[in-house]
């Protein structure tokens, strides 16, 4: 299979209508909140007002007696089971440092106690009646404070431990350490004609899915706990709820209906345990939806990471050394801390050829909101540092930064020692890059932005100055050897199929994409697929939606399951036609001989198999794990205008090229690229967490700025084709990489406009102005 043959695809590589689009456009009941029964109890949580405190005493007796209150949960009446809330494979590469309710609070927004009552008002009133006595402890508000000698220990509980043998020193607030060495960094720096040593800071951000965290649970007639939740990880949720409630997995069913966005925030078990416990205690359905304020304060965030890059380059453009040191602030709990910082290195360092590479990632606790999985997952943070450094290197040797990237980026057929050295909690997997259309991405993007018109900042005058910047990017597709997805597919008597997948559609369209893949393999049409996904009772296992794995991993499981069903269809079709099975093929939902003179439809085959002779259910089942994580590649470009009197930035145009292998559904690939790019744009320019004594003070859309239709600049997504042999019909992945571009692109564009270089963002007007004033005349 190759790029040429993609022209023959009938289902994949077409912008097939998203299966649930009409239902959602009509506003039909689709999300967790739409299914809450009228008699559901409402859950509310008392959150810690302090960043670091011990709970000396708590009295919930008054709350328990208040009108409408059915149950109160607190540390005194729930099991104390150390676990991790992160939705990851088992055993998790994260510390078990969390309890359903603890006797200590570690950030403003940490759990203290919860109430289930008949109405929200009654629940709130009961929260106010809970008496808590705190012993305030000295808080830790930065990595520097966390690392300092004699720093307060945030996790001093004896139960905190890591389930796999990875470094973990909570007495030093150290959550994780990971690193790798290739060649000799110091030698590489010595060999260089120009060296660089810069430290970059990346900020907090929240995913801001328009649907806040929402979950509900009820006890079904058989006595099992059924959780309906807005989650990216239904199977991890089931396991973790079983663990924290101390009930068998068998007793729990987790269902994900449509959800209103996740972007990584819902790769976490933050509500499911509580609604499940309340359902058990009360026997009633229990519903919990975060307010938007709670979503900001208690919800997971982007990890703020300090990235130091030491690098060396020769006059001829050879990169002689790259040393990346990352300090990751994971907040009050450690889930995802190690894996995010690992990706700072593993998803960025392989992009450029270099013989001397050093990487060190350190992760620290602080008494601040908790970092979780967020689209880009560490690569977003370190690409800011990397791509800013690349521009600096190019300027030092007098080379066009575009040409410098062309000269140095990884090509098809090449590998990088970093692939083997850096995994996620384990060693990585050696890999040679298969498909790579980065060169073409750079060419197409440069043309679209008008790179040839770019001029040096020293020639620019006047109040408003324009600049053009670029960045080259990569990510990964799935976590090889670790994550698994399964699928099954059965035929119905009209030639339709039920496709059951564990894979989780967040609105990304994975139900549709997997249906297209199955239909392509089965030589039928996507509209014949009835997709049911993400139900731990009904669908095969899947780790869930993260690590850009749904198309590459779950898609291949769907394809293999379809192939399994296809074998059975051919077998029965041949039997019906009286031909040897080797002499028949599938085409257009029929089994036929090569010239088509004898054929039988899938519908007739199904009726035969279900009702008539040698009856059996035609059903294909398969699982898949991946052997590599083939990177998608991208080149992003933007033209901006800087008001040098106010420091304000206007984005004139943004171009996001993307090589995702075969675009299974081009419209959905563009949609992911456009959405992720805009998210990255506001992350770079306007999003920030403002703190006062550890409390986020701008916890609403009024004060935390994401872009509206009136703010957005023109974004042009360009799909650049390539063919990844190891992916279903040539596909890699598309959803994360695009968010990595805007911060470094704008950093480079601001420099091109004004000569001002910023090593931290968001690029607030004040910071831009200060940097402009610091430019030597």
């Amino acid at each position: 299979m190759s790029l040429e043959q993609t022209k023959n695809f009938k289902q994949v590589h077409h912008s097939v209508t998203k299966i649930d689009a009409r239902q959602l456009a009509l506003g039909k009941n689709s999300y967790v909140g739409d299914f809450a029964p009228p008699d559901a109890l409402i859950v509310k949580m008392l959150w810690s007002p302090h960043p670091h405190a011990r709970i000396v005493s708590m009295d919930v007796s008054a709350a328990e007696k208040m009108p409408g209150v059915n149950a109160v949960l607190w540390h005194g009446n729930v099991p104390r089971i150390a676990h991790c809330t992160a939705g990851q494979g088992f055993p998790e590469p994260s510390p078990y440092d969390t309890f359903m309710f603890d006797t200590k609070v570690r950030f403003v927004g940490d759990r203290v106690a919860a109430v289930a009552a008949e109405t929200a008002e009654q629940a709130e009133a009961a929260l106010a009646a809970i008496q808590v006595e705190y012993e305030l402890l000295t808080p830790v508000f930065s990595i520097d404070e966390a690392m300092a000698e004699g720093a307060p220990v945030i996790h001093d509980e004896p139960e905190a431990h890591v389930p796999i043998p990875i470094p973990y020193e909570p007495e030093k607030n150290l959550v994780a350490r990971v690193g790798c060495e290739v060649g000799d960094l110091d030698q590489g720096l010595q060999d260089a004609d120009f060296t660089f040593d810069d430290t970059y800071e990346t900020p907090y951000a929240q995913h801001c899915p328009i649907e806040p965290y929402t979950a509900m649970a009820h006890i079904d007639p058989a006595g099992r706990i059924v959780i309906t939740t807005s989650t990216q990880v239904p199977f991890h949720s089931r396991r973790i709820v079983a663990q924290t409630l101390g009930v068998p997995v068998q007793k729990i069913r987790v269902i994900k209906p449509r959800i209103g966005g996740g972007f990584g925030s819902k790769q976490e078990v933050l509500l499911d345990d509580i609604v499940a416990m309340f359902a058990l205690r009360t026997g009633r359905p229990c519903f919990w939806q975060f307010t938007r304020e709670e979503n900001f304060r208690t919800g997971r965030t982007r990890h703020p990471i300090r990235v130091r890059i030491r690098a060396g380059v020769k006059k001829d453009g050879t990169i002689t050394a790259i040393g990346m040191d990352c300090w990751n602030n994971t907040g009050a709990y450690g889930g995802h801390g190690l894996t995010v910082v690992s990706c700072c290195g593993s998803k960025v360092l392989p992009l450029y050829r270099c013989e001397n590479i050093h990487f060190l990632g350190l992760v620290y606790y602080t008494n601040l909101p908790v970092g979780g999985a967020y689209r880009g997952f560490g690569a977003t943070q370190s690409f800011f540092a990397m791509e800013s450094t690349i521009d600096k290197m190019a300027e030092a040797i007098g080379m066009d930064p575009l040409e410098f990237r062309r000269k140095n980026h990884i090509q098809s057929g090449e590998g990088s020692p970093v692939f083997a050295a850096l995994g996620e909690g384990k060693e990585g997997v050696p890999m040679t890059v298969g498909s790579c259309a980065l060169g073409e991405c750079i060419t197409r993007g440069a043309e679209a932005i008008g790179w040839a018109n770019r001029t040096d900042w020293r020639k620019k005058t006047g109040r408003y100055r324009r600049g053009i910047g670029m960045a080259a990017l990569m990510q990964g597709s799935s976590i090889p050897h670790i994550d698994m997805g399964g699928a099954s597919i059965k035929i119905n008597e009209d030639g339709s199929f039920n496709l059951l997948v564990g894979a989780t559609d967040l609105g990304t369209g994975s139900d549709t994409v997997l249906a297209q893949i199955a239909a392509e393999e089965l030589c039928t049409t996507t509209d014949k697929m009835i997709v049911y996904s993400s139900d731990t009772d009904m669908t095969p296992f899947d780790v869930g939606a993260y690590a850009s794995s749904t198309t590459y991993l779950s898609g291949e499981a769907a394809r293999k399951a379809a192939a399994d069903a296809k074998r059975q269809i051919l077998y029965t079709g041949a039997e019906m036609l009286g031909l040897p099975v080797e002499e028949v093929i599938c085409r257009d939902a029929h089994v036929q001989n090569p010239d088509g003179s004898k054929k039988v439809s899938y519908g007739d085959i199904a009726c035969y198999a279900l009702y008539q002779k040698n009856q059996y259910q035609i059903i294909g089942t398969a699982s898949h794990i991946t052997q590599k994580s083939p990177p998608p590649f991208a080149a992003h470009f933007a033209e901006i205008e800087v008001d040098t009197w106010t420091g304000m930035i206007k984005v004139l145009k943004y171009v996001s090229t993307i090589d995702c292998g075969t675009a299974i559904n081009p419209a959905l690939c563009e949609g992911q690229t456009e959405g992720g790019t805009l998210n990255g744009i506001s992350y770079a320019l306007t999003e920030q967490y403002l703190f006062q004594n550890g409390r986020m003070t701008n916890a609403s859309f009024a004060d935390y700025h994401i872009f509206s239709m009136r703010d957005k600049p023109p974004i042009q997504a360009i799909l650049v084709p390539s063919y990844e042999e190891t992916g279903p019909f040539g596909a890699k992945s598309v959803s994360e990489i695009c968010i990595n571009g805007p911060a470094p692109v704008f950093g480079n564009a601001i420099y091109n406009a004004t000569g001002a270089r910023l090593n931290e963002f968001p690029f607030t007007p004040e910071k831009v102005l200060q940097a402009i004033h610091a430019v030597p005349k």
Binding site: D703, H705, S708, P765
Partner: protein
């Protein structure tokens, strides 16, 4: 504020009577969008003002008279000669808010980020208060302190009278924001009256990065009688530092707010001057 009761009086006098009777337990309700910023649980009775015929815009002599419960969206859409209020209204919040939020709601209880008080000060508007009878107050008088105090005994804002822009008068405003729906970092509004090339009179007002909207007399004094050109505007804008107690916004410093105000004053004056020069009639 927690609404416990909902009254719908049929006339302005009846509304005032309701509010006088309810005292602190009553609350005048127009659009209601500002209630989001008043989060305590004080039980109140809402007195609905939206059915009293106070939503209108009409020319009245040398003024445009705007009813107190006119939604911002209507002001945004209104076009007439010598009218300039639409420009700031299209930049307040979002479409859905502008459809419900009223001019009265914006200026009866002034929040620090409110834009309309700044514009009305610059335009030398007049506020009509109903206290059993109608009384007019100049903007300078009305915004000298928190207007909410005026309405404690059941009085109601009935209308706002905005002078129609005369010949050689120009209006300019700047609202500096991070995103279009954000609260302002700095709002500046200016009305210049030109006499040939010279500035005959100037009214310049600021809001948002200061505790309460106010005029900037130091800036105005620098403009009076001077030529309407960039260097003069820069000199006047440089007085912004002394003219008001600038506060940091959104994690940025007070020094930046002052600087932003200076540039915004300059830009607003340029716009006002351009506008004035185009209006010879």
């Amino acid at each position: 504020m927690k609404l416990c009761e909902f009254l719908r009086p049929a006339s302005l006098p009846a509304a005032r009577d309701n509010l006088r009777e309810l005292g602190t337990k009553g609350m005048a309700l127009a659009g209601g969008t500002a209630l989001h910023f008043m989060q305590d649980h004080t039980p109140v009775t809402a007195v609905d003002l939206t059915r009293l015929g106070l939503s209108y815009i009409r020319p009245e002599g040398d003024f445009y008279r705007i009813g107190a419960t006119t939604p911002l969206a209507d002001i945004q859409r209104y076009r007439a000669p010598r009218w300039a209020l639409h420009e700031i209204c299209r930049r307040i919040s979002t479409h859905q808010i502008r459809n419900i939020s009223t001019i009265g709601g914006n200026i009866c209880r002034v929040f620090p980020w409110a834009d309309l008080p700044v514009v009305l000060l610059a335009m030398n508007a007049r506020m009509v208060v109903y206290s059993g009878k109608e009384e007019e107050f100049s903007a300078d008088d009305y915004f000298a302190t928190q207007p909410a105090k005026r309405f404690l005994d059941g009085n109601l804002l009935s209308a706002v009278k905005v002078p129609s822009l005369k010949a050689h008068h120009g209006f300019g405003s700047v609202k500096a924001v991070r995103t279009m729906a954000s609260f302002s970092m700095v709002t500046i509004a200016a009305v210049l009256e030109l006499d040939g090339p010279a500035i005959k009179s100037a009214r310049v007002a600021a809001g948002s990065a200061i505790p309460f909207p106010k005029r900037l007399p130091e800036v105005e004094a620098t403009l009076a009688g001077r030529e309407a050109r960039t260097e003069v505007f820069q000199e006047a804008a440089a007085k912004a530092g002394a003219a008001a107690p600038w506060r940091g916004r959104e994690g940025m410093s007070p020094e930046y707010s002052r600087h932003l105000a200076e540039i915004s004053i300059l830009d607003a004056l340029e716009r006002a001057a351009t506008f004035a020069r185009e209006r010879a009639e």
